[in-house]
């Protein structure tokens, strides 16, 4: 450990909540957001009057469905009295918003911060599919690409599926990783989703199903890409000394990883076999004496399957380049394996709750309230990682 004072340890997760989750709920996204926030506040054993901070990703911003509510809408709807608040897209993954909440709590700007991520991408697409929400959709040819989109839209590469596929292809090329190996991110997620009543896809999936699925962008097939959904997830992040008498044992932030040391870009990153998760994970291990072997559960972002594999490598659960053999067969990452992974089904099967679903799952598992999919223990140490490409962050949680 190279850092002496780890201020995030003053903060903890004290409550979690979730709205209804589904495909095309056609519900008011602000209502879903408030459902999740109120559920998290109640889960912590607090009331709205106790909440004195708010943090969200990405704010009221983006293409249709990308954000269900902004900070101001929720502050106003609940008439919050905030000592601190924040929102923003340019941060260390979707859970960067939670890191900021932990820092606000650690500095004393707030005691109990509600954090949320809200999506309604399924309803926004309606029956028109992904094309309905692509940049320039419906603009009858007059749309011009500007900013960073100009470097990929003119080449008909508008999706992160395409961008991340090229990282996966480079990894396959350098290390010999195969689709049969990568499949286990999707297969593991699906077998866990079968025990998650809120998951989007719960039908059994076999390796044959995976290998024969239609291709999206090689090496990714349909089941390597997460499922857009509607829903909101929320947390309460509290000062540990204000959380000891609350409903759940505090889940303390043992260490955060938020670093970005390569270029903040999908095609200009120095090493095309990894992403900014390399930097975030490296930083995390400089802030704790714990080792990867101490981690009892991993919840790692799977917007695309390869991102999970890359997180497993960068977090040190296996060697760099060894992610394929590590997950092959799915035994290590099963609920009864040495490193249970994405026990709710991940975004591939439980829906694209965009990063927040992983922290929600870690919390309910560590509190032993995960229902049918609960793993043994319950786990006392969990790694949670969100984001891919240029926007990545991770944390170690320890149950006090």
């Amino acid at each position: 450990m190279t850092v002496t004072e780890i201020l995030e340890r003053r903060a903890c997760v004290s409550g979690v909540g979730q709205s209804d989750i589904g495909r095309r709920l056609y519900r008011d996204p602000l209502e879903l957001t408030l459902d999740a926030c109120l559920a998290a506040i109640e889960d912590a054993g607090l009331t709205v009057a106790d909440i004195d901070g708010l943090s969200t990703y990405p704010g009221n911003f983006g293409p249709a469905g990308f954000s269900g509510a902004g900070a101001y809408e929720v502050i106003d709807a609940l008439r919050l009295n905030c000592g601190w608040y924040d929102s923003g897209l340019e941060t260390s993954g979707q859970l960067g918003s939670v890191f900021k909440a932990a820092m606000a709590v650690a500095t004393g700007l707030a005691n109990h911060v509600v954090c949320f991520r809200s999506v309604w991408e399924a309803s926004a697409q309606g029956d028109k599919g992904r094309a309905a929400v692509m940049p320039g959709a419906g603009s009858s040819g007059s749309f011009k690409a500007a900013g960073f989109l100009q470097w990929n839209l003119p080449f008909s590469a508008p999706s992160a599926a395409v961008w991340i596929a090229m990282f996966a292809q480079a990894h396959f090329h350098r290390y010999g990783t195969t689709r049969e190996q990568l499949a286990w991110i999707a297969l593991n997620g699906r077998r866990n989703a079968q025990l998650n009543p809120k998951a989007i896809y719960r039908d059994p999936m076999t390796l044959d199903d995976y290998m024969s699925a239609r291709m999206i962008s090689t090496p990714f097939c349909l089941y390597d890409c997460d499922a857009p959904c509607d829903g909101a997830t929320a947390f309460v992040i509290s000062r540990v000394d204000r959380a000891r008498d609350l409903r759940h044992p505090p889940l303390r932030f043992e260490a955060i990883g938020a670093a970005l040391r390569g270029r903040p870009s999908w095609d200009q990153f120095d090493d095309l076999t990894t992403m900014a998760n390399r930097d975030a994970a490296q930083q995390l291990w400089t802030r704790t004496d714990l080792k990867p072997s101490d981690v009892q559960m991993a919840q790692c972002y799977d917007g695309f399957s390869f991102i999970t594999l890359s997180w497993l490598e960068s977090l040190g659960f296996c060697g760099v380049g060894e992610g394929g053999p590590f997950i092959e067969g799915g035994e290590r990452i099963a609920r009864d394996g040495s490193l249970p992974l994405n026990t709710h089904g991940g975004q591939l099967s439980a829906g694209r709750l965009h990063g927040y679903g992983f922290l929600h799952e870690a919390a309910v598992q560590m509190w032993g309230v995960a229902g049918e999919r609960q793993v043994a223990g319950p786990p006392e140490v969990a790694a949670v990682a969100a984001g891919g490409g240029n926007t990545c962050g991770c944390m170690l949680l320890v149950r006090d």
């Binding site: 470097w151 003119p154 590469a157 090229m166």
Partner: protein, 140 residues
């Protein structure tokens, strides 16, 4: 190039115009620091290596190597016939001088990371100014 597919074209600016229109003269152009010689992409107003603002666009050879690729099967938006190839090409002039592009005129089973490629331009007429997309095909 005849029968170019529909493309979303870039909005031309002073910073990007040479990149997107150099193909009219058969040239692939990048910004380059005139003090330390560093090529820059995407354009920015300062050299990240020496912090000089003394930059101008220069033509490169148009030769490079395929750093990675994907064969896209999904109809995200109107565009080339499916499936088409998206690639990242690294130019020979400088390590990590890269761009996202399409690989054309190449059988898909011949695609390989590291293969030599060269630029070929796809011309698009537009009332706001013609654009020449730099695509790449196999060749040294």
């Amino acid at each position: 190039m005849a029968d170019a597919p529909f493309r979303v074209l870039p909005k031309l600016t002073d910073a990007n115009r040479d990149f997107w229109t150099g193909g009219a003269d058969g040239e692939l152009r990048f910004w380059r620091c005139q003090d330390c010689g560093f090529y820059i992409h995407p354009p920015q107003p300062i050299c990240p290596r020496c912090l000089s603002k003394h930059m101008k666009t220069e033509a490169v050879s148009g030769r490079g190597a395929l750093a990675s690729f994907t064969i896209n099967h999904q109809a995200w938006m109107p565009g080339p016939d499916l499936p088409y190839v998206v690639g990242i090409v690294e130019l020979v002039e400088q390590e990590a001088l890269r761009l996202t592009t399409n690989i054309v005129n190449c059988p898909h089973d011949a695609l390989a990371i590291g293969m030599p490629v060269r630029v070929v331009f796809e011309h698009h007429e537009d009332p706001e100014g013609d654009v020449y997309l730099p695509l790449f095909e196999p060749g040294a």
